[in-house]
Symmetry: C2
Subunit: 384 residues, 2 copies
């Protein structure tokens, strides 16, 4: 093993296995014939709405099979600009949109654009695994601020963590894994921080923005579009995880640099997938499908919440996304391993969301009611 | 414009506009109503074979729409391993395969895995644009060796360019832009270089491996699989440029690092696209479609070659790929601009393939015979 040749970036970050790797272990047990239920992966279990599939068939039949524009297919960028302008009640130009292979590339693209090695990035804990990965890859200094128990931001701690070398703060509301929403009060304070630190940018990861059960989704983007970058994805909203389609909304001047990077890296998502994305955003039937999915998620959320409460867990009920993030009162990795091995239910150890959450696990309710009922029965058994 | 915040990697490398950007200018002229013919972009003009499209429809109908494994869909990796093992007459394990969004990501993935800032990468000129881009992004030292006029490797010069800090040599046969093939003699010498420099790896970009008119494609992979990385793509062979599907074959020990990188960056190509890729590799009807495409490319190659010869150009006739790379005896950028503006034919300035080729242009014959005839007539007019 020629480890001397391995770049630092390829080493583990924190206590992975990742959620996807845990799912792989669950799959292996399933392949051995065990009745595995996986509540470990962050994807809706619904098939992609039929209207989107039909749009894909049409696009392929029309031979939309040639290289896409590396900014994204123009008609899709227009559709995204119109869709987001309407949702956020602000002007958005197609020239601010970069279409990407899922939403994830926006994380490294943004970090790479705005930082040089040694600069600082602030994450709010619990955080999504890919954030600290790229902080490490780009040789940046990681600063972590633990969120309040209810998911709100502890502003004194956050402000104290920011210096003149801080280039980026990443926020994620509705939150994976807590389901917390951004409050108006927190948003106002974030805007004050941008005023106070003129070289700070905010990357706002809003991929769960349409999976909401209580209240409304608040995006800070309209209030400071020159300093905030939006990360969005078709994956969760439209049950399109495997389609690999997402986008960033950037201040317009950033685009020429990002396009060069994107173009030399991968060009973009499949052309016909981008055409199908237009239908996802604009078709009324698809919007009804999304409403129905959210309705079903709410039913599951309420059911799982009741069961967990009865088992004595304390938690904040998620207002968005599709996870419970609960303190299991013991090492969460150990808990997850045992629960999978003994009861064949996969959940995600909290440690991957940050070192403060060693005693937590994340339970996804993006699974059928039958699965959730059975999994909750097994959890009850497991705890006995 | 906040240029102080722009990372060095986002600046231009060499004399771009890229091929894709030139194509955009051609599109703009076309939109204005001009009879534009683009011979500037590197993609087959054929529709994707029907069998591959059918496989895509099936995969979507079967709801292959969920997250793919970040190594690639296992059935596709098995198919790739079998296909390449048979073509290269060597054992290849699925555990050596990383499926990527087109072939391009293999360039940065490999560079990043094998290098640290300050290490050296050797390119053979003319080279593909994305190679020096990533050399610059990763803060590596670029060394360039100009190929002989017939596309063979000047070994004394190459050997003299390699030091103990040289981590990677990138080769590309059949060559874009010259259409030259790797010779047995050059391959043997490359293997000697690997013996002499134990920390050197070769990245072999073979995306045109099945678009061959004379001789046979020679891959060095079977002769030193521990030290050679293969970059392949479905784009050219199967006319699937817009599908964004490619792969790397790596020494097995490298995979765990690459998968982490790929997984945090973008997960992988669309799941249903990967299933369709299995059909591309294995379906007999698709293989006949490929043969027919190559037959048509050969016809066009011969036609364009005759016309160019008559106009007095000197060149080596391409044995593979689908380009003529010709010395136009004046600044190639100027030539390309004028030819597009006056005669509405887009070609690619040679300068993007390296500073030695300022007087060259690349002419793609991946366009219909009608287009090629008309374009050659216009070129003849233009030269008068």
């Amino acid at each position: 093993m020629e480890f001397r040749e391995i770049n630092r970036a390829f080493f583990n970050i924190g206590n992975e296995p990742t959620a996807i790797e845990i799912n792989a272990k669950a799959k292996a047990l399933k392949a051995e014939g065990h009745p595995v239920i996986s509540l470990a992966v962050g994807e809706p279990d619904f098939p992609t709405p039929e209207g989107i599939k039909e749009a894909l068939y049409r696009a392929v039949k029309e031979n939309r099979t040639f290289y896409p524009n590396p900014r994204g297919v123009p008609e899709l960028r227009d559709a995204i600009a119109a869709y987001e302008a309407s949702r956020k009640n602000m002007p958005i130009s197609s020239n601010q949109i970069l279409v990407t292979v899922g939403g994830k590339p926006i994380i490294p693209y943004t970090m790479y654009l705005l930082t040089n090695p040694g600069d600082e990035v602030v994450l709010l804990e619990p955080y999504y695994l890919a954030y600290p990965y790229w902080v490490k890859v780009f040789n940046l200094k990681l600063k972590v601020v633990r969120l309040n128990e209810d998911g709100t931001i502890p502003f004194d701690a956050l402000r104290a963590s920011i210096t003149d070398r801080t280039r980026l703060l990443i926020i994620n509301y509705p939150s994976n894994p807590t389901g917390a929403m951004l409050t108006h009060e927190d948003m106002s304070r974030l805007l004050l921080l941008l005023d106070e630190f003129p070289s700070l940018y905010i990357l706002s990861d809003e991929v769960y923005s349409r999976i909401i059960y209580e209240g409304e989704h608040i995006s800070p983007l309209p209030h400071s579009p020159d300093r905030i970058i939006l990360l969005e994805s078709f994956s969760k909203t439209f049950s399109m995880t495997g389609w690999r389609l997402g986008y960033g909304i950037y201040p317009e001047w950033m685009l020429e640099y990002l396009v060069k990077y994107n173009s030399n890296l991968l060009t973009g998502p499949a052309t016909f997938v981008q055409y199908a994305g237009i239908t996802a955003l604009t078709d009324p039937g698809v919007q009804r499908d999304v409403e129905n999915m959210v309705k079903e998620f709410r039913r599951r959320r309420d059911y799982v919440g009741q069961r967990l409460e009865k088992m004595g867990f304390k938690f904040h009920k998620p207002s968005g996304a599709f996870y419970y993030f609960i303190d299991v009162g013991m090492d969460g990795m150990e808990f997850s391993r045992k629960f999978l091995e003994e009861k064949f239910v996969a959940v995600t150890p909290g440690i991957i969301f940050g070192p403060s959450f060693g005693n937590y696990v994340r339970i996804s309710f993006a699974s059928s009611m039958d699965n959730l009922e059975e999994a909750m029965d097994r959890l009850e058994d497991f705890l006995k």
